[in-house]
Symmetry: C2
Subunit: 256 residues, 2 copies
């Protein structure tokens, strides 16, 4: 099966854009994301993300709902599209990385809406945004794991942590900790501690790309002493990762 | 160590931007990338990438060099900055993912240029761009691996392929094949074939986001029958990945 290239077409009504708005601020959005929102009658998203695109939504219907209301947001967006509206359903970062893309495609197909035109607009994912602030921690092979066991059993996640730690992959941890869920990050630290020295650089970014941004560079032995919450991303280096000046770098074999 | 937020400051001369231009076209660039290039006296990059930002470089010095000249490009960029110029060194996708960020930071420190102001401007990485065209293959945990053994020993890469395949992680393969290097992709397919059914979806994107874009959806048993080259990215699903309508989706536990 071969896909055709299908750019943003503001002239086609009744379509759904799944838009990644990047880490937060207007500077880190793509023009495709801006044009998709500009072309939409209605913008749907988690409350904080709808606020982050407030500069683009004047005169548009906006539907903002709270955390864990993902399925409701998808259904509301699909309903609007069926009414002939053009809708942007927004995710922070990239909609395809712990965003809304998968759920929407599942719901569209399950609800007999497989024929509605859907375009996914990629964005700068949080791991890239944090990496850019830290230096170059992701220069070599890496894994992206979520520590949330709401949708994936903890046993599966723990197995992945073990495999990634043993294979000396850098790791970007999404959803590292929440108010109620703190044990997972401790277990992850313990697993990586068995495979990497305690001096391995660990970067923490919270609310990256927003005015509340907080970036910290620590190490495997100490990083849990710092504030880490739902809006944080944690990047753990591999056995080659090091500090170069103030940067966190994973060298990729260049003999410099 | 705590980093301060440091946005693009066109008023500060003599600095270096490491700019991710995203997958290719102007629509997929961030505004931060555009502003960094606009604020620069000089734009340095691989020939094809410099061409991709030609709409932004009128009146600027441009330095375009060929493949494998990464170190030369970094040195030229650093020299210009030392002369007081503001320089954008561009990477396709994200500069922190198989881009130029690591090498520049290493060279800057080695050359006694650790004090020059460097800002890394993240971009949409090729895996996100391809995922958006395919559906939602990266919705669950995934790994990003390069099959190029120019800078990393093949034994290390093969060990990572084994670990990732066994841990049921989706994988995005960068540099899957070149004219001279074909064996690595065959070995990767063989490794994944031992852990996942032959019907596992595999997406191939070549020159994603450019006018020559080619997107293909195949499966583990058949994907190597299609053209795959240096400019391709290959995404291999996990044991839950499936086709939903025409999309490649890795469901994330939502009971739809």
């Amino acid at each position: 099966m071969i896909r055709r290239k299908d750019d943003v077409r503001p002239d086609r009504p009744g379509r759904l854009f799944l838009v990644g708005i990047g880490p937060g601020g207007p500077l880190d959005r793509t023009r495709r994301a801006q044009e998709a929102i500009a072309a939409s009658d209605c913008v749907v998203g988690y409350t904080r993300y709808v606020e982050l695109v407030a500069d683009l939504t004047a005169g548009k219907e906006t539907i903002a709902t709270g955390m864990t209301r993902e399925e409701e947001r998808c259904r509301l967006a699909l309903e609007r599209v069926k009414e002939g509206k053009t809708v942007s359903l927004i995710s922070s970062g990239d909609p395809g990385i712990y965003g809304m893309a998968g759920l929407v495609l599942q719901l569209a197909a399950a609800g007999g809406a497989a024929e509605i035109p859907i375009e996914i607009v990629p964005g700068v994912t949080a791991a890239s945004a944090l990496a850019a602030r830290l230096g170059a921690p992701l220069m070599c092979d890496f894994a992206t794991l979520s520590l949330s066991d709401l949708l994936v059993p903890w046993e599966t996640i723990r197995g992945r942590l073990e495999a990634v730690a043993a294979a000396d992959l850098v790791v970007a941890l999404y959803n590292p900790r929440s108010r109620k869920r703190t044990r997972q990050l401790d277990e992850a630290a313990e697993i990586f501690g068995r495979h990497r020295p305690g001096t391995t650089p660990v970067g923490i970014g919270t609310a990256v790309g927003t005015p509340e941004e907080r970036i910290l560079l620590s190490d495997l032995d100490h990083f849990r002493e710092h504030p880490i919450a739902m809006r944080s991303i944690v990047i753990i280096g591999n056995r080659s990762s090091c500090r170069i000046a103030e940067w966190f770098v994973t060298p990729r074999g260049y003999g410099v």
